[in-house]
């Protein structure tokens, strides 16, 4: 378990991280979200022991990062922001260097390196120097470094930053595949990524935790969560709207789009978890409207994100 306890960081008089506390258990993938400059990277740097916190500490699997930094770091795999790698080394040399420091020797070291190369799809570039590699490969080399010793705790700072959609997908699959036996913290500002990978999300803004929940629960905070969006072939809304608004459990209904061919409506329930889709369907069928699409909104994460982080 990673326990972050009351971590605070001042840069000069500016408080970059303000009393953040949370725990991450094995099996969890914690998404660490926030606008740029919210303190994500600073927090991760403190957890990995790169910069000392001004207050508080992190305990990595029982080892305090301040009191027993070496023991704590042995259990961590860390992918820093921008995935830095020594440009003048080959991929193999670099992983060999990391494996040495991680305490592997002899045939075990070679086996570990080969296994990691395989896992991260780096076989074809094993003997290429890092500065000849594309951004996606560099990212994967750095990622390979972080999982080389099969750490119990993985801390990934924007692991898919700068990758193309296919590579993003690959990295996410790798992270998911490893998650059962590890506690993983990954920072991102991509909401779909959090949604696709994470089992839990913490949103920070101005150095403070403003939300800590599952992606679904966060989405439920959206104002459109549970609302029914409905597209009909061109219809006069004046007649339909009052009938929908009169339905039991419906709070309001409004037109959100209209042109010559289509009419798009959204119907909001009184309570978010009470389903109103069936009742809406009944009304529509009675009057034989031509339904083009009808679905229940799950909620929009970006809207929730903006509301929570005060980006209006």
């Amino acid at each position: 378990m990673i326990e972050v306890k009351n971590m605070t960081k001042f840069f000069g008089i500016k408080k970059a991280v303000d009393d953040i506390s949370f725990n991450v258990a094995k099996g969890e993938i914690l998404g660490f979200l926030g606008p740029n400059g919210a303190g994500k990277s600073t927090t991760m740097r403190m957890i990995t022991g790169f910069i000392p916190p001004s207050g508080g500490t992190a305990i990595i699997g029982g080892s305090d990062i301040l009191q027993h930094p070496i023991a704590a770091r042995e259990k961590i795999g860390y992918l820093p922001e921008n995935a830095p790698v020594y440009p003048d080394m080959t991929v193999f040399e670099y992983l060999d260097f990391c494996a040495q420091i991680r305490g592997f020797s002899g045939t075990k070291r070679t086996a570990k390196i080969e296994e990691t190369l395989e896992k991260c799809f780096l076989n074809e570039v094993t003997y290429q120097t890092v500065n000849t590699l594309s951004k996606g490969f560099k990212q994967r080399v750095c990622f390979a470094q972080s999982i080389l010793h099969d750490p119990e705790y993985l801390i990934l700072d924007e692991p898919t930053d700068g990758l193309d959609p296919n590579q993003k997908h690959e990295v996410r699959m790798m992270i998911k595949a490893m998650s059962a036996r590890k506690a993983i913290i990954l920072s991102t500002h991509i909401l779909e990524e959090m949604d696709a990978v994470c089992t839990r999300a913490i949103i920070i803004a101005d150095g403070v935790v403003v939300a800590d929940d599952t992606p679904d629960a966060l989405r439920a905070q959206s104002s459109v969560h549970g609302a029914v969006s409905l597209t009909l072939a061109a219809t006069d809304p004046q007649e339909l709207l009052p009938r929908l608004q009169a339905l039991e459990g419906v709070q309001s209904a409004s037109v959100i789009g209209q042109d010559n061919q289509h009419l798009t409506l959204r119907i909001y329930p009184e309570q978010k978890d009470v389903l109103i889709a069936a009742k809406v369907m009944d009304v529509l069928q009675d009057s034989a409207y031509k339904i083009e699409s009808l679905f229940v909104e799950q909620g929009k994460l970006d809207e929730v994100f903006r509301t929570i982080t005060g980006g209006g």
């Binding site: 740097r45 990995t48 022991g49 790169f50 910069i51 000392p52 070496i70 023991a71 770091r73 042995e74 961590i76 860390y78 820093p80 922001e81 921008n82 830095p84 790698v85 020594y86 440009p87 003048d88 080394m89 040399e93 260097f97 990391c98 040495q100 420091i101 991680r102 305490g103 750095c142 470094q145």
Partner: protein, 248 residues
């Protein structure tokens, strides 16, 4: 202990192969050899002196090191900072002292290699005359120790900044102080107004003062101790600087 030597050796190997993997190493070695040759034969008048020793060779080392060693040292931390790899290396399960020691030793051995490549001079004197080989050996040891002191200053200033240029200039300035403090014309100026003990104190701080006797073939324990203490002090300062400004 085992873990410590393992870590130092891993970092040492990486840094040393880093030198030889880039043109820096070859440029440095070639320029070092050319400069020592030039100073020894043209400025030092090696042949005209007609003496079978290498003093015209060793006496220029402080001045050559003054510019060349900061150039070797400048990348050691500044480059890590610029690339962001400092964040990787300092979050691996290694102590900062191990990283500093590994880097220092790699650069020191590299300079040692360059120094060893001046061996044709030794052969030349041995061929032309009957030199005191003990004194020459002593000179090499002294030169290597002094190189270590220059290097420790350069490593320390490299930790200050992400810019290799700034690191180089600051290192040259600090090293220049350590050289000039024992340079006779500078001491003459200071002795014009300062008490003798102060002049001596300043002179004792100098790389030059401690190199002169070694260069003559006298390997005094105090001189060796001086260089070792400068190295340890600078490496320690390096650790303090890094601890305080890792992320900047």
């Amino acid at each position: 202990m085992n873990q410590m030597s393992r870590n130092i050796s891993a970092i040492f190997k990486r840094e040393l192969s880093g030198y030889f993997g880039s043109p820096v190493a070859y440029v440095f070695i070639v320029i070092f050899l050319l400069l020592t040759g030039f100073f020894t034969f043209y400025i030092g008048h090696f042949f005209e002196l007609g003496q079978a020793d290498l003093r015209p060779f060793f006496q220029w080392h402080p001045w050559i090191f003054l510019f060349l060693i900061p150039a070797v040292a400048m990348r050691l931390w500044a480059e890590e900072r610029r690339l962001g790899t400092i964040e990787l290396i300092l979050t691996l399960p290694v102590r900062m002292s191990e990283v500093i020691a590994g880097k220092f030793l790699a650069a020191w051995v590299f300079i040692g290699i360059a120094l060893l490549l001046t061996f044709p001079l030794v052969i030349t004197v041995a061929y032309l005359g009957d030199p005191d080989l003990g004194a020459i050996f002593c000179g090499y040891i002294g030169s290597f120790l002094m190189a270590g002191a220059f290097l420790s200053v350069g490593l320390m200033t490299s930790a200050l900044t992400r810019s290799q240029v700034i690191s180089f200039i600051v290192a040259v300035a600090v090293c220049l102080f350590f050289v000039l403090a024992g340079y006779a014309p500078v001491n003459a100026v200071i002795s014009g107004w300062a008490p003798v003990w102060f002049v001596n104190l300043i002179a004792e701080l100098s790389f030059l003062t401690h190199f002169i006797s070694i260069e003559r073939g006298v390997l005094d324990f105090r001189d060796v101790l001086y260089y070792i203490s400068v190295i340890i002090f600078m490496l320690f300062a390096n650790g303090v600087i890094l601890n305080n400004r890792k992320a900047s």
